[in-house]
Each structure stands twice: as C-alpha cells, then as structure tokens.
C-alpha cells in the first residue's frame, strides 16, 4: 500500500498594524525555508504580491487591528483560512499601536493635524482612499476567532517553524518554555 503524496499546504500571510518584523522573522527560518517551501505554497502574502486571500489552509497575521482596512483584511483571512494564527505581540495584545488606547482618537488627530504647527498641513486627511482609524486598537481575537498564537516581538524563527511544522504534520502546536517569549 502506498501513502498518497500530501498536497502542499496553502499559506497566506499579512501584516495589519504591524512593522513586518514578524515577517522578517519568518524569513529568518533561513535554511529551513527551502524544506518549508516544499511543504507549503503561498497565497496572499507580501512575498507573493497576491492581493486577495483565496481558500487557504493556514493564515498567519501579524499586527493589531487599527483601522477599517485591517478589519476587511482580517475578515477576508478568517473567511478563507481554515486555521488562523495570530503572529507576534501586536496581533495578540494590540502591541505598540495599542499604546494609543488610553488616548482619545479625536484629540490625537487634532493634535497631529491641526494644533501642532510642525505637522499640520491642510487639516485632517479625508481622502476616501485612506482607511479610517478605529477609536481603539484591538488584538485579532477581539474581532474574529483565532485558532493559535505565536507570541514574541518578533516571535523567533524557531517558534514560527515549530508551529507551522506541527500544524502541517497534524500535531497540536506546543511551544516549549524557551520559545514562549513576549519580548
């Protein structure tokens, strides 16, 4: 009896209100990238330039949810990815962008675009092309259901590799103590 070859796993990645540091960490998998590429094919990702997420096995999202576009992208991922992973501090806690959460958004915009002379040039931008900011920044799990979390700022390449290979092998991802980092 032969075991049928497993089709490659389809993986989508994106960064919402993030700094792409988590994506850099993904690339840091280094020499393991090649074996990983034998296991996965990329859908929407900064690495492919595919603009919309199609049906996928795994979605990896870094960054918090800070504006309307982030919400659309997150929903698109949730609708298309069987497994959704929050990648890094911002996706899991709101992170750096959420440091504005104790400030009033209206006052922030006013300060930056109206009051502060060095910055104000023609008022608060209102181009419909620009996504509007939410009043607060949220981690992914407050907007959609999230299946797994890889903490860290950024998570180590090893932690990402561990979770991805666990999932591809059909194991419940288990990070050992030294890979559960929040900084």
């Amino acid at each position: 009896m032969t075991v049928p070859a497993r089709p490659r796993v389809r993986l989508a990645t994106t960064s919402l209100a993030g700094c792409f540091g988590c994506h850099m960490s993904l690339l840091d998998i280094d020499e393991k990238l090649l074996p990983l590429l034998e296991l996965v094919e990329f859908d929407r990702s900064p690495l492919t330039d595919i603009k919309h997420c199609g049906p996928c096995d795994i979605g990896l999202i870094e960054g918090g949810v800070c504006n309307a576009e982030n919400v659309h992208v997150l929903r698109e991922f949730r609708a298309n990815c069987r497994v959704l992973i929050a990648l890094g501090a911002c996706a899991i806690t709101g992170g750096l962008p959420a440091q504005r959460n104790h400030l009033d958004l209206g006052l922030c915009l006013q300060e930056v675009y109206l009051t502060e002379p060095s910055l104000s040039r023609g008022g608060i931008p209102n181009d419909p092309e620009l996504p509007l900011p939410l009043d607060k920044v949220h981690p992914l799990h407050e907007i959609v259901r999230v299946d797994y979390y890889i903490p860290g700022c950024p998570p180590s390449a090893e932690a990402i590799w561990q979770v991805l290979t666990d999932l591809i092998a059909g194991r419940l991802p288990q990070l050992p103590e030294r890979l559960v980092r929040y900084d």
């Binding site: 929903r75 958004l105 915009l109 931008p125 209102n126 509007l132 009043d135 907007i143 959609v144 259901r145």
Partner: protein, 598 residues
C-alpha cells in the same frame, strides 16, 4: 476647609471612639455624616490623630462605597438597585427623579445640591423600590414619593424635617412560629442560660450542641461547636460579634429582627458572652440599616439601666455591647472580612486557618454569629434543646426566617420550621404563577417550577433566608446578568480570580445581552466558572457564578435566543468604533463604514 476648622467636627468624634486606629472606619463614617464628604484635609487630620499613614486611611476610605472622597452633594440619594427593586420599576423612577432634579445620574450637581447614584440591594425588597437619602432608608418609591422627594430637595428642606411617613418601614411579619412569638421579657433568657451554666459544667454550650442549632447566615456551621471552640481557645479576652451585615440581595429578615426583637438579639449576645467567657460584644450593623442605629442604642441604654448589660449583666459576669456601622460593602458579611472592618481596615477576607474562634477580633478568640442564630440561642436557653429539635428536620433543627419578595402578593418575613417545601412557602406568599425561585439569594440556588417540592433545609436547599419569586414573563438571563454585575461591584479585589473574573463575567454577559454573543461566550462562561469556583479566595468568588450556572442549566433558551448566528462576533460595534474618525474627517462615504462580516 483647613485643619483648624476641622477640629470642632473631628475632635468630638475622635473622643467618642477613643482615638484608636481600629475605630478608623467609625470615625470616617461619622465625619462624613458631619461634613458631607471626606476631604483630603479631613483624611489627613484623621490620619494624624489616629497615628496612621495617610495612605492607609485613604485605602480604607476608598474601599467602602458609602464613603465619598469627592463632594457628593448636600443630598446624597442612593437608589437601591436590587433585582426586586428593578422588578418594581426602580430604573424608571430613578430617571424620573433625575429629571425632576435636573440631575445627571452618578454625578454631583454643579451647585453641590444633590447626587443620584445606584447602590446594591438595600434590604427593603418587601417594600421596594427603595432609596437611601443621606444614609436613611425610604421604602415604597412610586411616582408620587419620587416627586415629593424631589420637591423637598429642591426646597432644601433639612432631612429631619421631611414627613415622617416617608421613612416608615413596617416589619411585614407574615408568619410567626416559636421565634417570632417568643413572648420573653428582657433578662429571662440570660437567667435561663446562667441557670444551665450553674447546673452543669458545659451548661449552655452543651444545650446548644444538643439542640443541633446551625448558623443562620447560610453556611450552617454548628453553633454549639463554635462556642465550645472559642471557649476552649487560649487567650485573655474573648469577643462575641453579631453579624448584622445582612447584604445578600433579597434578604431582610435580620432587619426585621433588629427592628422588632433587638432585646432578644442582645440577650443572645450576652448569654453567648457568659457561655464562652467574653465580656465584650460587637454588633456590626449594615450601613444600609443605619436608620435602626438610634433605636438599637436606645435598647442598649435601657438594658444597661436594667442591669442586663454592664458589670453584672443580667446577674452574670460583665458584658457590654458596642455597635459599629458598615459603609456599603457586601463582602463584610463574610465573617473574617467583617472582623477586618470592625478593626477599622479594608474588608478583605482573611486567610484561614486560623479561624475566628481562636484568632478573631484583634486576634482574640471570637464567636461571630448571625442575628437570627443569636435569637435562636436565646430561645434554646429558655426552652431547651429538646423543644428546639421538635421542629425542623434531622440535620436542620428549629425554624428559619425567610425574606419573601418578588412576584407574590404577600411579601414579608415568614418563620417556617426547616423542611418546609418551596411550594408551601409560595402558597403562603400568594405567588400565583411562579416560574423560578432564588433560594438564598444570588450566591444561593435558583430553582425552577419542576423543583418546587424541594425542602428548605441544610440537607436539600440551604438558605440564609432570601426567597425571591420570579413570575411568568420575568427574564432569568437578565436576573443573572444583574447579579453578576452585583458581584463584580462588590468584589473586594484581593484575589485575581474574583477581581478580574467577576468583571470578565459581567462583560461576557453584557456581550450576550448586546446580541454579540456566540458559542464562544458560552465556553468563556465555562472557563470563568472553573477559575472562580476553583481559585477564588472566599465565598463571594466561589458563588459569583451561581446565578449563571443555575440559569444556564435551567433557562438555557434565555441565553440561546440572544446568541448571534456567527461563531464569533466582536464585543463592540465596529462601525461605531469608526465614528470618532468620521466626525474628525467629515467623511460619510461607504468606505468610512464597517458592516457585519459577510
């Protein structure tokens, strides 16, 4: 107010309470009565006078919800926010009052005249909705009473000139048994107990043990054992504490005992003192029952004059009683939190062991008993264990006072022998169409109509006395949600599971209420149940889940019909979260809105 102008206010209060740090709460409470709020200067002067760090004084003052650290108005109205108050229309009446007063809820009016806030159930469930004005209870609010209160406040009439019938609180006793028709004159029970003590070495304590009396506050610890342990504990001095901090929503039978049977309560305290060798008693009166303080003090004075308290209390050893008044903290009904509060501290439940019987008030052996327990002990002193055991069931001897409120025609206090069925009580109370009864308050058990043949007893349905009836049309999810908010408000905040868990619980219930709930939230409720039940420091945390647990098992549809169809929804409205940015940019184009996930 500067420090020198505070002296005339603070000095007599400090003198009355003996300038000891353990009277801090009583000093703060009276100082607030005198000045309307606890100003930073007043706190500093109090700290100096009692030799306490200012941070400690602020820590205590900020723990109790009746103490105001900001100006709270010349008239401070607290609307009772119990489940039965709301069933009787308290929310609408509150709005009406605010409208009439031009007041915004939860704010002190700019002119400093009035503030209108809500407070946990004030124990007037049989005659609600109720309010406290400057700490004094007003029952039976309706449109007419609310308008009258508003007029009196707007006319700046001093509270002591308001019509007395506004404050009249009948006891509403509906059924009397051995306790409520005891017919004992003051001193009789003390004499009977002294006779028992004289006749046998174990005397009164042995009789109590034989009677099978168990604590009436709800926990049901055998009273005789408690007294025996305290009596046997090493120590120079001992204390008897009467727990009159009746805070469980829906309970008011202790209020009735304190109003009608104060002598019997003090009688029980005195003979307890004689039995265990205590010379001092403390009664911790719920802040909401402040209006009973004067009559209780008058009873004490009368008893002192009659020789029933003092150097030879009722012909026995010395005993006297001091009354402390609480300041709005449900947790202080927990006996060790109550002891902390009696010592003038934040009401945080202690670690146990040691237990109060060996390390209680000021670290001394202490008996802490419920009001009704002490009354029952007095009865047993006179009539004996055998008579007491004739009533009730094997493990629940005697009678129990029930506070019956909610959807029934005859609300009030009922004394039934233990073992009475829920249905018998419902029939006596004229409950026509009940769908559920909350037995023992939110920390007790909520049962549905299939369980009305169950018995009120420690063997089946234990109860501290609350018996709240819900009729057809009542929404049990809302009842549970309100109770969960109550626990979050009353959590002392000491331990992680209760401090965070009760608030998380409230926000999950709010999310379901707001139509954003999903299976995810039901799983969250499970997770919170586990951590509260398994990790919390005291009974408040352990039982905070009970309203949810009971309604979700018995009234699941009231949850299910609120669940959004999606497997997950955010707790908030995403489109509303864009509103500040829309306002600032002036945009209203389609891209400036977020719809539901599609």
């Amino acid at each position: 107010m500067d420090a020198s102008s505070l002296s005339p206010v603070l000095d007599p209060i400090l003198a009355r309470w003996g300038r000891t740090p353990d009277r801090l709460l009583q000093v703060l409470r009276e100082a607030q009565d005198a000045t309307g709020w606890l100003s930073p200067e007043l706190l500093a002067a109090t700290a100096r006078s009692l030799g306490l760090p200012l941070a400690h004084v602020r820590g205590v003052a900020s723990f109790y919800s009746f103490l105001a650290l900001e100006p709270a108005g010349e008239y401070r109205v607290l609307l009772s926010d119990g489940v039965t108050d709301r069933m009787d229309g308290s929310l609408e009446l509150g709005e009406r009052l605010c409208r009439r007063l031009w007041a915004e809820p939860d704010h002190t009016a700019g002119d400093g005249l009035v503030s209108v806030r809500r407070t946990s159930c004030t124990g007037l469930c049989d005659q609600g909705p109720a309010a406290l004005v400057n700490g004094i209870a007003i029952p039976r609010l309706d449109g007419r009473v609310v308008d009258a209160i508003a007029d009196l406040i707007l006319a700046r009439r001093p509270l002591d000139t308001w019509p007395v019938d506004l404050f009249s609180i009948p006891t509403n006793v509906r059924r009397e048994d051995v306790l409520l028709r005891h017919g004992l004159s003051p001193g009789v029970a003390i004499a009977a107990a002294l006779a028992r003590n004289g006749a046998a070495p174990a005397g009164m304590i042995a009789e109590l043990r034989a009677s099978g009396l168990r604590g009436r506050g709800g926990a049901g610890y055998p009273t005789g054992n408690k007294w025996a342990s305290c009596e046997a504990a090493p120590g120079e001095s001992r204390y008897i504490v009467c727990n009159a901090d009746e805070g469980e929503p829906g309970t008011f039978k202790d209020r009735v005992l304190l109003a009608r049977e104060a002598d019997l309560v003090f009688e029980g305290m005195t003979l307890a003192g004689h039995a265990v060798g205590a010379t001092r008693g403390l009664l911790y009166l719920r802040g909401e029952y402040r209006y009973l303080l004067d009559s209780l003090e008058a009873t004490l004075a009368r008893r002192r004059a009659a020789g029933l308290l003092g150097a030879t209390a009722g012909g026995g050893p010395a005993f006297d009683v001091e009354i402390h008044v609480g300041a709005g903290a449900y947790i202080c009904g927990e006996e060790t939190a109550l002891l902390e509060s009696l010592e003038g501290k934040r009401g945080i439940p202690r670690n146990r062991p040691p237990y109060p019987v060996t390390h209680g008030y000021l670290g001394r052996p202490t008996v802490v008993d419920n009001v009704e327990t002490l009354c029952a002990a007095a009865l047993i002193a006179v009539h004996g264990a055998v008579a007491w055991r004739r009533l009730g069931t094997t493990q629940s001897s005697g009678t129990k006072l029930l506070s019956v409120a909610g959807d029934c025609t005859r609300r009030g206090v009922y004394e039934f022998p233990f073992g009475v069925t829920v249905r018998e009580v419902l029939e006596a109370a004229g409950a026509d169409d009940p769908i559920a009864v909350q037995v023992g308050g939110p920390s007790g058990t909520l049962i549905d109509c299939a369980e009305f043949e169950r018995h009120l007893s420690f063997e089946d349905l234990p109860t501290g006395g609350a018996f709240t009836v819900f009729g057809r049309g009542r929404d049990l999810f809302e009842v549970a949600r309100q109770h969960v908010h109550f626990f979050a408000h009353e959590s002392c905040g000491f331990c992680t599971p209760c401090r965070v868990g009760t608030s998380m619980l409230a926000s999950v219930m709010d999310k379901i209420h707001d139509g954003h709930g999903s299976r995810h939230e039901l799983a969250e409720l499970d997770r919170l149940t586990s951590v509260l039940g398994n990790g919390a420091h005291c009974g408040l945390g352990h039982t905070a889940m009970n309203p949810v647990r009971d309604t979700i098992t018995r009234f699941a549809p009231s949850y299910e019909r609120r669940l959004a169809s999606a497997d997950f929804a955010p707790a908030f409205d995403l489109d509303a979260a864009l509103a500040p940015a829309r306002r600032m940019t002036g945009r209203d184009d389609p891209a400036s809105h977020l719809g539901d996930a599609s």
